[in-house]
Symmetry: C2
Subunit: 355 residues, 2 copies
Amino acid sequence: MTSARVAAIPGDGIGTEVMDSAKAVLARLLPLTGDNIAWTDLDWSCERYLTEGALMPDDGLGLLREHDAVLLGAVGWPGVPDHVSLWGLLIPIRRMFQQYVNLRPVRVMEGVPSPLRPDLAEGVDLLIVRENSEGEYSEIGGRFGAGTPVESAFQQSVFTRTGVERIARFAAERAERRRGRIVAATKSNGIIHTMPFWDEVVAETTAHYSVETTFEHIDALAAKLVLHPARYDVVLGSNLFGDILSDLAAGVCGSIGIAPSANVDPTGTYPSMFEPVHGSAPDIAGRGIANPVGMLWSTVMMLEHLGAARAAGLLMEAIAETLRDPATRTADIGGTADTAAVTDAVISHVTRSAA
Amino acid sequence: MTSARVAAIPGDGIGTEVMDSAKAVLARLLPLTGDNIAWTDLDWSCERYLTEGALMPDDGLGLLREHDAVLLGAVGWPGVPDHVSLWGLLIPIRRMFQQYVNLRPVRVMEGVPSPLRPDLAEGVDLLIVRENSEGEYSEIGGRFGAGTPVESAFQQSVFTRTGVERIARFAAERAERRRGRIVAATKSNGIIHTMPFWDEVVAETTAHYSVETTFEHIDALAAKLVLHPARYDVVLGSNLFGDILSDLAAGVCGSIGIAPSANVDPTGTYPSMFEPVHGSAPDIAGRGIANPVGMLWSTVMMLEHLGAARAAGLLMEAIAETLRDPATRTADIGGTADTAAVTDAVISHVTRSAA
Ligand SMILES: CC(C)[C@H](C(=O)O)[C@@H](O)C(=O)O
Ligand SMILES: CC(C)[C@H](C(=O)O)[C@@H](O)C(=O)O
C-alpha cells in the first residue's frame, strides 16, 4: 500500500476540468487498492496572476518540495503572455526540481482513430524520452540593436556531459525493459555544433546497456515517424527535438487530447510532476467537453512513480476500456461524450475490475 | 525562348543516376519548346574528394557563378564524414550565393500512396518556404573542456532583421499567388529568445501583403500536419524548423523520393541551385532503381526559374502522368519500374503532349 502527498495544481481552462476528473477517479480507485493520497489543492494559475500578480506564491517551490508528486492540469490563458505563465510556474518547477526527464509514452489505442492508414498505425507503441533541463532551451540569449536595421536575436544552446549522460542512461534503462531499441534524434550532419557531442555521449553511455542505439537526423526521423511509426521503440531527443517529436507522435496516434507526460527527477531528490500534453484550451473551456484521458493517463504514470502499481494497472485498463466504447469518447476523438460521462465510465470500469 | 548556362553536379550514388535521367528528359524536351541549355558537367563529389582531396576545385564557386543555375544530384558517401561533404560543397554554395530561400513544394500526387487515410490526404498542396542562410545553422559554436567531466557543447542561433524580413517577403509574395495563407512555425511560448523576434518581424513584414499570417508552435504544427495537412497553404519556417517540416510534409505525401527543392537567390545576383530532397542513397546506388521524380520535379522548378514556363509545364504534366500509371512507378512508391523506365515514360509523355 502506498501513502503519498500530492500537490494538485489544476491551473487554467480545461486544466481544472480534467483535474476534477482525475480526482473523482482516484477517490473511487484508491480505496479499492488500499492506497492513499493526501492532496494539497493549489489555485496557482493565470487567474491568480491576474488578481494577485503572481502565478504562485514566493515560497511556492518550497511548498511543493514537501510533496511526493505534483499533478498539473494546464497553465495558460489569453491575456497573460506565454512567457509570464510558463516562467511563473511550469519552467521553474521543471528546472529547480531537476526534472531532467520528460517522459511521453505514445500508443495507438483502440477507439482513437489514427490519421494513418490502418496497416501503418497498427502496433505503434513508442516511448519518447525527452531531455528536459538543458539543450536548446537555455536562459542565454537575447536581442541586439532593438529598433535598428541591424537588430538581431541570439539563442545559445548548451549541452553538458552530465546532462546528456543522465538522459541517455535513463533512456537505456527504459529500453532494456521494453524492446531494447533506442533511436536518438540528431542533426549532426550539418552545422549544429552541439549534435556531434550529443551523438558521442549518447553512444558511449548507452553502450553499457543491452540496447541497440541508432541515430537518425531529425528531418528524416519526422518523416519516418509518419511513414512507419511501428518500427520505433524508445525515441530519445534533446529538449527541442523531443518536444517536436512527442507532439508529432501524439498526432500520428490520433490526438493530443489523450497524450500523457511525466517530468521526472529520477534521483528522487525532488517531487516529479505529471501533466497532460494538451494545454488549457480556452476555446472549449467551461463547457465540460474536454477529453480527460490525457490527464488520467498522466495519473497512471504518477501512480506507477509512487509505487501504486496495482492502482496504475487498473486505471490504465479502465482508460483502454472506456476508449473502446464509442459511447464514451469525447468529440476530439470522434465521439459525443462529455468529460463527466468519460469519468463515470472510467470509474465504473475500475470498480468492476477491482471487485 | 530561353537560353541558359547550367552547371550540372551529379555528385555521388544515385545523384548520378537521377542526373542522367534529367538530362535525357531535357535533351528531348527543350528542342520541342525551342529552349536551350548549355551544360557544364562537373564531377564534384565525394569520389573526387577521395582521389583529389577536395570535393570541388579552389575556384569552384567562381566557376559556378558564370552559370544561370546549378542542378545538383546528391552529395555524400560512406567514408567521407558528413561535415566534410557538406562543407566542401553544398553549404558554401547556399551561403556564398546568398541562396536565402529554400523552396519545397509538397503535394499529394495521384499514384503516390500517402501514409494517411485517403480522406485526410486529399488535396494536400503545400509550399514550404525555409530560411536558408542563418538561424539555427550558424558557424558560431563549439566544444568546451573536451575529455573532462565538465565537457559541454554550444551552438549560437542568429536571427537578423534583414534575414527574417527577406524570407518573410518571399513567402508573402508566393502566398499572394496561391491561397493567401501563411502559417509561420515558431516556438515563442518558451525560452527560445530568437522566436519572439522572428514572430514580430514576420508579422510586420507580411502585413504589407494581401495574405493572412498566423503562427503555430513547431510542436503543435508537426502534429497538425499529420492530422489535417490539407488546411495549410504556405508554411514558413526558420532554417531548422523548415528543414524538419519539409521532410515531414514529404513523408505525409508518401515519399521523400519525389520531393524537389530549390535554393534561390531571389535578387538574381547569384545562380540558384536545384536539387532533390533525397540523398545519395548508398544502399540502392548503382542498381538503376532510384526514383528520378524528385530530380525531375526539381528540374521543373529550375525551368520555371529560368523563364522556360512552357517546358516546365509540360514536364510537370508528364511527371504526373507517369506517376498515375502503376507500370511506371519505382519501388519506393510501390511499383517495380526502374529509373530508365520512368525516364522513358516521362519522355514519351512530353513528346506526345508537345506534338
Ligand atoms: C544535409 C543537411 C545539412 C541538409 C540541411 O539540413 O540543410 C539537408 O537536410 C537538407 O535539407 O538539404
Ligand atoms: C509550453 C512549452 C514551453 C512546453 C515546452 O516546449 O516544453 C510545451 O510545449 C511542452 O511540451 O510541455
